[in-house]
């Protein structure tokens, strides 16, 4: 029996129908955080371990963030004047 997927929300908790509008009302960055949270929760399940590499690994490094570098350099130059 496949136990990987939750198919309902217990009645003493907020229902999915109640939850979705609240999620929609979040900002874009908050919704991304929700998506990341869900992906990490799902990947903890051994049945879904294979999706781990696709959804869980986050890369914070600012590789080739050229515009950010240019602005920060200009900011530093203004700081020193």
């Amino acid at each position: 029996m496949n136990m990987c997927r939750a198919t309902h929300v217990e009645s003493n908790h907020m229902t999915l129908a109640e939850l979705l509008p609240k999620i929609r009302s979040l900002s874009r960055s908050e919704r991304i955080e929700v998506a990341r949270f869900l992906a990490e929760e799902l990947a903890k399940d051994k049945c879904l371990a294979e999706i781990d590499s696709a959804y869980v690994h986050t890369i914070w490094s600012q590789y080739d963030a050229t515009e950010a570098a240019v602005i920060l350099q200009r900011f530093l130059a203004e700081q020193s004047t």
């Binding site: 955080e33 986050t58 950010a68 570098a69 920060l72």
Partner: protein, 143 residues
């Protein structure tokens, strides 16, 4: 001659199969009269320094007062960030002014990247011995 400060790699999750050693540099961040001890990931592949939101707040920085927006990349692309300059003291070396992309999230670690940590400091990674050395760059920007 300036003697380099040496640090050991940090094992972030000891005992776990996924445990990875990271070059995490302990140093001090200073803003006005406030200072806190922090740990930054030496990320030579990162174009810029990144400061988590909570650290700026702990230092007493005012988010609204920072007017320059910084567009970040990757997982931080959706996160608002603003430029902020802080004094940083590494080991016994003189403090330097570091510019950060102050991100409005606590999910990311404090990153020390090319702009401008690696302009001030030379870093030697000796991964096989789980250690790294840091010293001010003598021909870099003025200290």
């Amino acid at each position: 001659m300036i003697t380099a400060a040496e640090y050991g790699y940090t094992e972030t999750d000891p005992g776990s199969q996924l445990s990875i050693r990271k070059p995490l540099l302990p140093f001090e961040l200073i803003l006005g009269d406030s200072s806190i001890s922090v740990v930054g990931l030496l990320d030579s592949g990162s174009t810029v320094n990144v400061l988590p939101y909570r650290i700026g707040i702990q230092l007493g920085a005012n988010w609204s007062a920072q007017r320059i927006s910084i567009p970040l990349a990757g997982n931080l692309a959706a996160v608002e960030a603003r430029a902020i300059a802080l004094q940083a003291k590494v080991g016994n070396f003189p403090p330097v002014k570091l510019a950060f992309a102050w991100a409005q999230t606590d999910a990311a670690p404090l990153l020390l990247g090319q702009i401008n940590f690696f302009h001030y400091f030379d870093v030697c990674f000796i991964g096989a011995d789980s250690k790294f050395q840091v010293r001010p760059h003598v021909h870099g920007l003025p200290l």
